[in-house]
Point group: C2
Chain length 135, copies 2
């Protein structure tokens, strides 16, 4: 399947999600792991578009979510910093997902600088997260 | 707002809907009106993308749907036949919405030929409609 950058932007404006998880993890300095991820969810009948995204970005996984729903998911500092963020910087989202994207990028940059390992940095990330993906 | 064809295809693959309504209408020959429509629904915070679609296609309306949800809607044989269908013929959808689009186009063509005014044509349209937008 042939997809191009603007189709990906349009599809992400519709179906994409920039999410920051903060999970308890005793192995981490502060007891919490910051887990940013870019996801796109689809019914299994359209799994081919999820694999097309995976091919395009050259990273991420396609996994079963719930029932008949599958998810393309990109995690990992390098994938997000070097592939996902530069793509959406070059090809700007048209909906308010652009606002989430900017917050997501801010968190990625903070994690790059190790700020999530300090209490004030982690608090700052929590506050950014609260303002993301508001219904 | 600047949107291009591939963005529209991607966004429609995510958020668009090709729908055929069949409503009772005593003014019609068989007592039913066939009402095909192309719609895109968004939260009001992203109403600007709905107006961008309206500008791009040069037809349709942006209306309140429910609560904070708005809808870009194109009805009318001429708008659908001359604008919406040629656009998605030229710029093919990537998801299974392409299957719905083909069924939708078939209904539009039948209505063009007046087949919805004959009982067997209306029955055929009902059967096509049953196979559209399956969950």
């Amino acid at each position: 399947m042939n997809i191009n950058a603007q189709w990906i932007v349009g599809f992400t404006d519709g179906e994409g999600c920039f999410h920051v998880g903060i999970n308890t993890n005793k192995g981490m300095t502060l007891g919490f792991q910051v887990l940013p991820e870019f996801t796109v969810v689809q019914h299994q009948r359209d799994v081919k578009v999820l694999y097309a995204l995976k091919d395009y970005f050259g990273c991420g996984v396609v996994r079963k979510n719930n029932g008949n729903v599958l998810c393309y998911r990109v995690r990992g500092q390098e994938n997000l910093s070097m592939k996902i963020i530069p793509f959406f910087e070059k090809h700007r989202l048209k909906t308010s997902k652009q606002v989430n994207f900017r917050k997501f990028r801010k968190v990625i940059r903070m994690v790059e600088r190790g700020e999530h390992l300090k209490p004030e940095g982690l608090d700052h990330i929590r506050k950014i997260k609260q303002l993301m993906n508001l219904k």
